[in-house]
Symmetry: C2
Subunit: 333 residues, 2 copies
DNA sequence: TTGTAAGCGTTATCAA
DNA sequence: TTGATAACGCTTACAA
């Protein structure tokens, strides 16, 4: 590998001049610049980003900490962030936190030790206090889908209470009274907010919250499965099922069909997130749209604005979910 | 941030000693080691991985180059690789190539310039020659789902011809003669191999390949949609549809249902990859299992063995696909 | 506009 | 078993 030193020698200039060319510094004459570029070309020179960042303590890379590397939700998120950042010549370093406190912390440490210029994180297990403390460090932290009052300028979040409310209200206005609810793990703020919205809608229409129609799932297909099974065994009648995410809804749909339900007439089902495959289920799944790509893009923009000083960027910190009405929730007479 | 220098001062030893402790070097007395560790603790010292890799030209990180950051296929792949590597204390740096030649190349360059100890790549647009050339460089390259004879020891691949054969043969043995086929983009080797297998099965059973029952899709839902539309407009009768991946199959299923097909009785559909949501479609989708997680794990193991000198690892370079029989392909009398 | 030289935080080679 | 000291490849005052 050629180094900057060899380039400088071949071009007959000093190290600093080569460095200037590398960094598009204005104070270089056209002529020298050309000489240097040619030398680089000739040697197939590739600057070492490691050395650059050691010297400059900037890396042109932003860390992304997500819960999982797979799953449609995180896929969309990573993809949107990466695309926006790459367009600005920045790179991303992605690491998973697996919704586990110590793994999330070590993810942060890794990213920080890699000198990321900033970190965009979707974390669920670490406490707000930890995040606030971390934000005082040298690496700026941005939060996706999480609102922490003390560092709200660094948060991009979704109004999940509203989303939860919307989901259940839709079922009610479509004629349902006995509505089962499969929640997500309650340590996840998204999940507990959605539940809050559910209860809000219930109470608005004077429907009592029934423990026998409430189950806490795992945000995966199995959660939908297990939840529906639990409800059926409880023998409390219900005509609608609201799930706190699409994966659980699809699991429930499958279980329902396998156990003699005729969908959607026997049971109306609602998801949450509007993940890509919901449109390919049968019946197509009514769901609450979680504008993940837009939010990812916004998070990237926020970093571009704050850290890389791009101008003319307007930031929207809180997104509103909206209803996507499909076939799984027909109106009941 | 505390540096190694401050640690050495507080512990009353030299830089080198601290470095030795950091690297678990044996030639350090228990006593000094303890002193140093305490100093580290006290200062909350975190070694700079940047500086470390500049000095050692090792990074404990392996680059992953995938086509897309989202999508169930790549999600599973990244996840499996990362899990295995993380268990060995290595980190991954992920970057997407978007199935585009110049983007894939710049992905490689980025990863190489980050001094990754190795790169695991799933690339589709760059040529074999490029990969062979690249393999001569200082960063070892490993290929996922791609077989290149000259560097076969660095390849982990799936026998896609066999998979394609299996898919179509299954349809034939279940009683179908008029089988439509929606292929993937033919510059992708996976796609062209699957097609090859399809033709092989056809000819084995003396069924002629019919251009009117052949469509090249984009490996996404839209491809399934458009393909089925094309076949219907062609007005050539067919009773079975084989798709080169699950996304296209799900798109086709939806289009079929919207256009009056009764599934699966009117049309048998076969997917490929056994992506997570195939089991939640209705009818559940018969598909060819692509053991992505196993292959990802194997690729990680290969790196662990070759690069990090782990012992006792057995490598399987070529994986065999198998049939997952579900409800979308009933037998025809 | 260009060059000199001092870092950046480690590892690695010697010598002690 | 420990310590000096020279790399690693680049950026960045400061000087010229």
């Amino acid at each position: 590998m050629a180094t900057i030193y060899q380039v400088s020698e071949l071009a007959g200039v000093s190290l600093s001049t080569v460095s200037r060319v590398l960094n598009n510094n204005d104070y270089v004459s056209k002529k020298t610049k050309k000489k240097v570029m040619e030398a680089m070309q000739q040697l197939g020179y590739q600057p070492s980003s490691i050395a650059r960042s050691l010297a400059s303590s900037r890396t042109s890379s932003v860390g992304i900490l997500v819960s999982e590397l797979d799953g449609p939700f995180f896929g969309q998120m990573m993809s949107a962030i990466e695309e926006q950042l790459r367009a600005a010549g920045k790179h991303v370093i992605i690491t998973p936190g697996h919704s586990d406190e110590s793994k999330e912390k070590s993810g942060f440490e890794f990213l920080i030790s890699r000198n990321c210029d900033a970190i965009i994180a979707h974390v669920e297990a670490v406490s707000n206090e930890y995040l606030i403390e971390l934000s005082k460090g040298k690496t700026p932290i941005y939060l996706m889908s999480r609102y922490v009052e003390e560092i709200k300028d660094n948060c991009i979040s979704l109004d999940n209470v509203m989303g939860g409310y919307l989901a259940t209200k839709t079922m009610i206005t479509r004629g349902h009274k006995n509505i089962a609810y499969i929640a997500g793990p309650q340590f996840k703020i998204d999940a507990s907010d959605r539940l809050k919205g559910h209860k809000q809608a219930l109470s608005e229409f004077a429907i009592e919250f029934n423990e026998n129609l409430f189950y806490i799932g795992d945000f995966k297909e199995t959660g939908g499965n297990d939840g529906l099974k639990y409800f059926i065994e409880n023998k409390v009648p219900f005509t609608a099922l609201v799930c706190a995410n699409d994966e659980m809804a699809s699991g429930a749909m499958k279980y329902a069909r396998e156990h003699g339900f005729n969908l959607p007439s026997d049971l109306a089902i609602m998801g949450y997130d509007n993940v890509i495959f919901t449109n390919y289920l049968y019946p197509t799944l009514t769901t609450i749209n979680n504008p993940v790509p837009e939010m990812g893009k916004m998070a990237a923009n926020l970093v571009l604005k704050d850290i890389y000083k791009h101008s003319g960027i307007t930031i929207n910190h809180i997104f509103q979910p909206n209803l996507i009405l499909r076939d799984s929730t027909p109106t009941v007479k």
